[in-house]
């Protein structure tokens, strides 16, 4: 046991990436005959059970390790893991600080209930669900932990390729239609990512984030202008992932087309964009980055506020429940980015707290919506009067809870998160804009969800035809887990807020980050001129 702890202590960051990838390989080895036929045959059924066991145990282990990493990061140390022990900036490093530990924990917190939910039947509606899911987790954890820009791109590709396949899970016309859009958009974004990255490399001669932050600050004149261009190109790329105006149009259709557990997992995908924006534009193009400092500050806040407003208007116009939740995702990303875009540690801390809340709530709502839809016969999740659901009290209360949390009614964490963002903007010039948009969006969210609730639960027609069956205990319990998590987030608001405060402060302290990654006196021969040192 002590030996295992020792290994974990030494290799913590990389283990969180290695574990899902090894699990995925193991799941591939177990094999998958695929389809519902596997449920019938005893042989295939046994393998399905094993796949579920393996994936759930692995996700649980991942969660424990992520919790350990958060504890370790909360001690204040920046843990740097040098792959192959090559010194930075020449080798690739994984960096575990408070922000990345928090994001990895959030990923695992979402992944475990979603996997539990999926093993209620979704995982048998296509092949290799669990294996691809684990690859997705690998990409997510890697993207959050890496301290190297090109490595970030590689992990982006890993999680994107997995997400392409997950999106198509269950197949069907709509999924293929949205799949083409999603894949083409993301491949184009990957091209742009490489362009931005290559420009930064040309200017700084490094790909290591800490080293890059050091060198961007030294740029002057036309080089600084080029660096600002690269920063904006990267903002476009990450903005597409995070679904910011005007790059969010792909999201509602895609998320609505995806199967419920996949959509719930995708709730974390937009946060990868948010995380990358924080990492790039706080650490590399932060306030002390010389002439290229705060290259995106003029853009981020207006874009975020417009995203938030348009997202909720889209939800108001949505004609199905899953589209409604997808638009609420867009809206919540807007609120988060508003906190990030104000570029003060207080607002960033509030935005991080709200990130935790909105990811969990949106994931829970995606799962809940499918269970409501399953009991409404042919009308599924269309927002029009249909016959009553079979368990109106249970599902209705859950819906009420999720809606209150998403809209930000006290005492749920949505309220706390929005309050923190509002409070932290006190005294800033953008305060009137922020308050207007956040409060207006909160009000409209209540309207949207109340309208949906009325149509689904009250505006019912007498039942005709067969009554739909109830939902399986597995699926319900997974949804309950998300509800419980939001309550926990509200109860533990003080320590969580303390942690996000510290995380924001740590992000602001670029010198300490660079010292941790590069050592006391880092020297490189870059930018490269061809001369031998």
């Amino acid at each position: 046991m002590n030996g295992l702890l020792e290994i974990w202590w030494q290799h913590a960051p990389v283990l969180s990436v290695v574990l899902p990838s090894l699990t995925a390989v193991l799941l591939l080895l177990i094999g998958d005959q695929g389809g519902m036929a596997a449920l019938g045959g005893s042989h295939g059924g046994g393998r399905l059970r094993w796949r579920r066991r393996v994936t759930l145990v692995s996700a649980l282990l991942g969660l424990v390790m992520a919790a350990g990493m958060v504890w370790r990061a909360s001690l204040g140390e920046v843990v740097v893991y040098r792959l192959g022990d090559w010194p930075a900036p020449f080798g690739i490093v994984l960096v575990l600080d408070r922000l990345s530990a928090l994001m990895v924990l959030l990923t695992c917190l979402v992944a475990l209930p979603v996997l539990w939910y999926a093993s209620g039947g979704w995982d048998a509606r296509g092949r290799y669900f669990h294996a691809v899911f684990q690859f997705q987790l690998m990409g997510l954890c890697g993207a959050f932990l890496t301290g190297d820009m090109f490595n970030l791109f590689v992990f982006f590709e890993v999680l994107l390729i997995a997400s392409y396949v997950l999106l198509l899970h269950g197949q069907g016309k709509e999924r293929f239609r949205m799949g083409v859009h999603y894949v083409v958009l993301n491949l184009t974004a990957s091209g742009l990512f490489l362009i931005g990255l290559a420009m930064l490399y040309a200017l700084t001669g490094t790909l290591n984030m800490a080293d890059m932050a050091q060198r961007v600050a030294l740029l002057e004149g036309e080089n600084a202008v080029l660096a600002r261009v690269a920063a904006l190109v990267l903002l476009v790329v990450f903005g597409l992932k995070a679904a910011l105006v005007p790059l969010y149009f792909w999201l509602p259709g895609t998320y609505a087309a995806a199967s419920a557990p996949v959509a719930a997992l995708f709730a974390i995908m937009t946060k990868v964009g948010v995380y990358s924006i924080i990492r790039t534009h706080w650490v590399i193009f932060g306030a002390d980055a010389g002439e290229a400092a705060l290259a995106v500050a003029d853009w981020l806040l207006p874009v975020a506020l417009i995203t938030s407003a348009l997202g909720v208007l889209g939800a108001l116009a949505a004609h199905s429940m899953s589209r409604l939740v997808a638009y609420l995702t867009v809206s919540s990303v807007g609120t988060i980015m508003a906190g990030v875009g104000l570029f003060t540690p207080e607002t960033l801390s509030a935005a991080l707290y709200y990130t935790l809340h909105s990811t969990i709530v949106v994931a829970g709502l995606f799962l809940l919506v499918e269970q409501v839809a399953a009991q409404r016969g042919d009308d599924t999740d269309h927002l029009r009067p249909a016959h009553a659901v079979r368990e109106p009290v249970l599902l209705g209360l859950m819906m009420l809870f999720g809606a209150a949390s998403a809209a930000g009614l006290p005492p749920l964490p949505g309220f706390l998160g929005k309050l923190m963002i509002l409070q932290s903007s006190h005294g800033l010039s953008a305060q009137p804009w922020l308050w207007t948009v956040v409060l207006g969006v909160g009000f409209l969210t209540i309207v949207v969800l109340a309208r949906a609730g009325v149509v689904v639960f009250w505006h019912v027609q007498p039942a005709v035809g067969v009554a739909a069956s109830g939902n399986s205990a597995k699926m319900l319990s997974a949804t309950w887990v998300f509800m419980a998590l939001t309550v926990a987030l509200a109860v533990m608001a003080a320590p969580v807020k303390q942690y996000t405060d510290d995380a924001a402060a740590q992000l602001g302290d670029r010198a300490a980050y660079q010292r941790a990654v590069l050592g006391e006196q880092a020297q490189t021969t870059r930018p490269y001129t061809g001369a031998r040192p």
């Binding site: 293929f176 894949v183 490489l194 490269y528 061809g530």
Partner: protein, 117 residues
């Protein structure tokens, strides 16, 4: 005299423009071709961002200047990833054509106007 940099830059511009044009077409096949062209342009762009060298060794051998080796490694990674994703998107386009009965990117033939080709 035209410099090497100007030549490469304008060449990249033309390829990228062609890629963007194809990307904006309505059928999946030109879109995939467009993605491929953009991928090529991006790969060469990364390579060029290590500066253009003449009379330099690609690897650390002998005397004299050595070309920046890192972009070469990056390009290799980008090529591999691009190859895999192109394979995936072709397969996806074929399945979408099969499922929806149309190779239009929206999964159905445009109703009005005489078709986006």
């Amino acid at each position: 005299m035209i410099t090497m940099e100007a030549l490469v830059a304008s060449g990249l511009g033309v390829v990228t423009a062609a890629g963007v044009y194809l990307l904006l077409r309505g059928r999946t096949f030109p879109v995939v071709l467009g993605l491929t062209l953009i991928g090529y342009a991006v790969n060469v762009f990364i390579f060029v961002m290590g500066r253009l060298w003449s009379n330099a060794n690609p690897l650390l051998v002998g005397e004299g200047p050595v070309a920046d080796p890192l972009p070469q490694a990056l390009v290799l990674t980008a090529i591999v990833i691009g190859f895999a994703t192109t394979g995936f998107v072709i397969e996806l386009a074929l399945r979408s054509r099969h499922e929806n009965g149309s190779d239009h990117v929206d999964g159905h033939e445009p109703q009005s106007r005489e078709g986006a080709r």
